[in-house]
Symmetry: C2
Subunit: 590 residues, 2 copies
């Protein structure tokens, strides 16, 4: 019985870092070889990182990626791993000078997988289905590949697919059936989104059954601007049985042994092709016979629960933004409120307490507990706190400007923003904006005030979920016998921006539970106002929230990037014009 | 001889304003009817405005657009223009439940043209070729139409096309040949870009010859966030002769009389279809016979020269952003330098002097001519100027923060930004950021400082072009016998941010002519560093500019929107990751 031992290299590349990513891949190959694997499957565009956006269109970068791929192939052989076959995602350029049926050129940048063996790229597969929705713009960045790559190794046939290819009918899933492949090897750069991991296993099972092949799903891990890749690589056999599953949000090499199957694809009869007698690429059997290998034990890392998963996504998104951009520390304003307390605790979990700096900036309107709670957070987490009262600066502005009302409120928030940016300039910290998705939706923030920062870790987290995650984080600490990092009063106190006397968020905004319910339907699900009212929401509430949300688009455009966790994050996922007179009204469609 | 009189409705719609846009269309129909036209051709998506971005995906907006289209058809008949056939661009939803060859659903939002006649939508054409490059994301927003719309009127056959359709082989251009159409009626929302108008006439001539049809090209005018539509509607006959051409950057109804042609398409022989004997849609001949009509005189509005065209684009982009977003006035900091002086003069030309407010904010480092030149600008243009010295605010911050170096420089810029935002909050002005493209490229600006604002009128204008346009504007005034609006010293003085003693831009940046030459090649043309050096640029200069440009991506993400005039504007046109370790090096590809 021919056994093919595969290794899935769940690694964390960095966009544009061709040399660093090549080192990661060589280490993964060393680990795979040490584990006696025949074939190593790495993520989509692992050599370049993903998404490279318009870098894909730049000829110098296309060429650099192609050259780095050739050099990597040689280096892998020089490292002694030439017999290990590797599937490596990278950017290439198709020189096809033909055109498709509607006259579009076939040549252009391609999202490719190189099959590397004995020092060379022996074959290339170009991604067939290019996603162009949600956070994806691949119709902008790539031309689609049209040809299958099926190769033979250890008597087994392997068909290659890249990410979106697995989510669609036709293309590689059909080619795997047509070529009677034993394995569908899928390279992915699949961003985290709440609940997506459940769908991912289902999909692998469905496509294993549809193709009659085992499915090896390798995903990257790590953060890239707004996106977090959660790993969760997995292998199912041709019957759809889960064989191995990797961890979430961390690097791992996952092994699986595959035996050639005689499983019939679920509807094999309708495949109208005759099988080719031989494949263009056939790699020699590996030197290691199955009986000499250490047997594998099944790995099935348990899934994180929903809160743990969300928290891990936020932590990794923040850590990678800071580290990949070369910052040694972060700085944030600490108001004693839940948002800044949660971001402070998250930053300490992501980076360590010695890299996190807080500033309490009390004003005449600050409550006594405001500064106390900031100090409590510092004691619980170990972050470094300083105080910079804003009174003298406020007075200096007011003696020139004599502001009242909203202008006076914003002035305070902007002085705080300036203090943070000044300390950032002087000391080199990355400033974190601590706004949540509910605020960002309705524009309850001061542009150039509390909105300043290089990264906004919870910009895609609704307020009610911030509270839930804060409680969860403290409970986790409690179960481990330690004090929670987040001051309990920061969780339980009534939210207030403290920019005016006895101000409460509820003076300006609906109850956060009501607000978040409407926002989930309006923002995440794109439900119109009249449908919201039909679904039972109060018409006046809907009208108010929709109006506030539509009117805040200009603020969101200038807000820092932050980790996407939901189905429709502002920015990459939800793209609306600023100049826009369309106003959803509860009666607009009736 | 059958004459078809067409009218091209070059109008200025607003995104999302279904009611307002319908009023514009009804007025255009009234004008077309008064001019005895048979057929009125309006721009692409004129009823919804363009681009509506993700609004196209929202079911409530799709439905609202469809309902507004039906209502408009009835209203046009009620207005007495039922016999006038109208082609009106709008958003619809294709309910086709089939799929294309690769399994993509045919149903979804469509970028459509409605043929309206006698109170009803009698036929619909869905755009076939969807552009997905540069500023366009239509593969995200629409599904492609697959069917031609060819109809008959006054004995002539009219084939409908939408924008990108005209730029490609196949689709409507081919259908026009196959159906022996007399006219290719093209609805456009084609954004302004330097030199594009020259290409547009060429294209119409080429496609007229290729299709054997006259081409009527209707473009919208007006600003929409970063885009400006320049109008420039035109009609060429089937031989490619220019018949009529409208103005640039303003609304106009353009008329043309077309006679049925027997022109043979340039390669008619290779069309392998037999002509249909009758078309599904045939409209009755108009009541006005050709001999009763007033004859038309050819309109061929002369093209603006390059500088006039650029200035008109910037003026309209600014005016429409302000007006369509409901602002009554703008506010900007006036430093006495060329950028703010130019933007001040532009704003006065766009909005009138009574809507433009300037603030001079001198510091200890400001030159004496700084405030003098701001006053000179105010006198020349009539804008309202006030002075707010920043010394007291600066001292208040410094007594808390004790900043030096770059942090101290940025502090001054940020105090100025806060003063502007405070006055904006208190008085309701839209703040204009006055940065140019050269600064934005290399990050020579202070985030939350001089970068604050709701709109940045010259963000896509390189520094050297700012000087050119300033000189041009003053010369225009001179030719008209009046004083130029821009103080001559603002044009001739050496650029300085005046944030430190005797500071000059040249302390930190290359000469602006050198800088702009490299930036044009690197940013606009995506030329790699080693190619730049091969092209003759100094290697150290290239390395420095590329490094600065790559490192400023995070600042650009938070910069306000501004009018695109070049071939690759930051933001919509040039999309790069922030987290990005790829660094072009002069030797990186050699």
């Amino acid at each position: 019985m021919n056994v093919l031992r595969i290794a899935l290299g769940q690694v964390n590349p960095t966009v544009g870092d061709l040399a660093g990513n090549a080192r990661l891949i060589r280490q993964a190959a060393a680990d795979a070889a040490a584990g006696q694997a025949d074939l190593l499957i790495l993520p989509e565009m692992v050599l370049t990182g993903y998404p490279v956006e318009d870098l894909s269109l730049r000829p110098s970068f296309q060429q650099a990626s192609r050259l780095a791929m050739s050099a990597l192939a040689r280096d892998l052989a020089d490292d002694g791993f030439g017999d290990l076959a590797c599937l490596v995602g990278y950017l290439d350029h198709s020189d096809d000078d033909g055109a498709d049926a509607v006259g579009r050129p076939r040549g252009g940048p391609v999202n490719s997988a190189a099959l590397v063996h004995r020092g060379a790229v022996v074959a290339r597969y170009d991604k067939h289905f290019l996603p162009n929705y949600g956070v994806f713009d691949e119709a902008r960045y790539f031309v689609p590949g049209e040809a299958p790559l099926v190769f033979e190794m250890n008597g087994q046939r392997v068909c290659v697919a890249i990410c979106e290819d697995l989510w669609r009918q036709g293309g590689p899933v059909q080619w795997a059936r047509e070529f009677d492949a034993d394995l569908l090897a899928v390279l992915n750069a699949s961003p985290y989104e709440r609940m997506k991991d459940d769908r991912r296993l289902e999909l692998c099972v469905e496509q294993a059954q549809a193709s009659g092949s085992a499915v090896a799903y390798t995903n990257m891990t790590g953060g890239q601007d707004e996106l977090v890749f959660d790993g969760d690589s997995l292998v199912v056999d041709a019957a759809g049985q889960l064989l191995q599953r990797a961890c979430q949000f961390d690097s791992q090499i996952l092994f699986a042994d595959l035996t050639a199957t005689s499983v019939t694809p679920s509807s094999r009869d309708d495949v109208p092709v005759s099988l080719p007698a031989s494949l263009p690429v056939s790699l020699p059997a590996s030197n290691t016979s199955a009986r000499e290998r250490q047997p594998l034990t099944p790995t099935n890392t348990p899934r994180l629960d929903d809160s743990a998963e969300l928290y891990a996504a936020l932590r990794l998104g923040l850590a990678d933004y800071v580290n990949k951009n070369g910052f040694t520390s972060v700085l944030l304003g600490l108001s004693g409120g839940i948002d800044s307390a949660f971001v402070g605790a998250l930053a300490v979990d992501a980076l360590g307490a010695d890299r996190v700096f807080g500033v309490a900036m009390p004003s005449r309107y600050s409550s006594t507990h405001s500064v106390q709670d900031a100090h409590d957070l510092a004691e619980r987490t170990g972050l470094t706190l300083r105080e910079v009262p804003i009174g003298p600066m406020f007075d200096a502005f007011q003696s020139s400007l004599h502001l009242t009302g909203l202008a006076e409120e914003n002035l305070q928030a902007r002085i705080r923003g300036m203090v943070l940016m000044s300390l950032s300039n002087a000391e080199g910290h990355l400033v974190l904006a601590t706004g949540n998705k509910s605020e960002l939706s309705v524009g309850y923030s001061t542009i150039y005030g509390d909105a300043v920062g290089g990264f906004a870790p919870i910009k895609d987290v609704p307020k009610t979920l911030v509270w839930d995650l804060a409680r969860w984080r403290n409970e986790q600490a409690g179960s481990a016998g330690s004090a929670g990092p987040i001051p309990p009063r920061s969780i339980t106190k009534e939210p207030s921006a403290e920019l005016g006397p006895d101000q409460k968020d509820s003076d300006s905004l609906p109850d956060y539970h009501d607000l978040d319910s409407v926002l989930e339907a309006y923002v995440d699900e794109d439900t119109g106002a009249s449908e919201l009212v039909s679904a039972g929401f109060d018409a006046a509430l809907v009208e108010r929230i929709v109006r506030l949300t539509d009117g805040a688009e200009y603020k969101r455009r200038q807000y820092p990037p932050g980790t996407k966790i939901g189905v429709r994050a502002f920015g990459r996922d939800r793209r609306l014009p600023i100049t826009n007179r369309w106003r959803e009204r509860p009666d607009s469609n009736s």
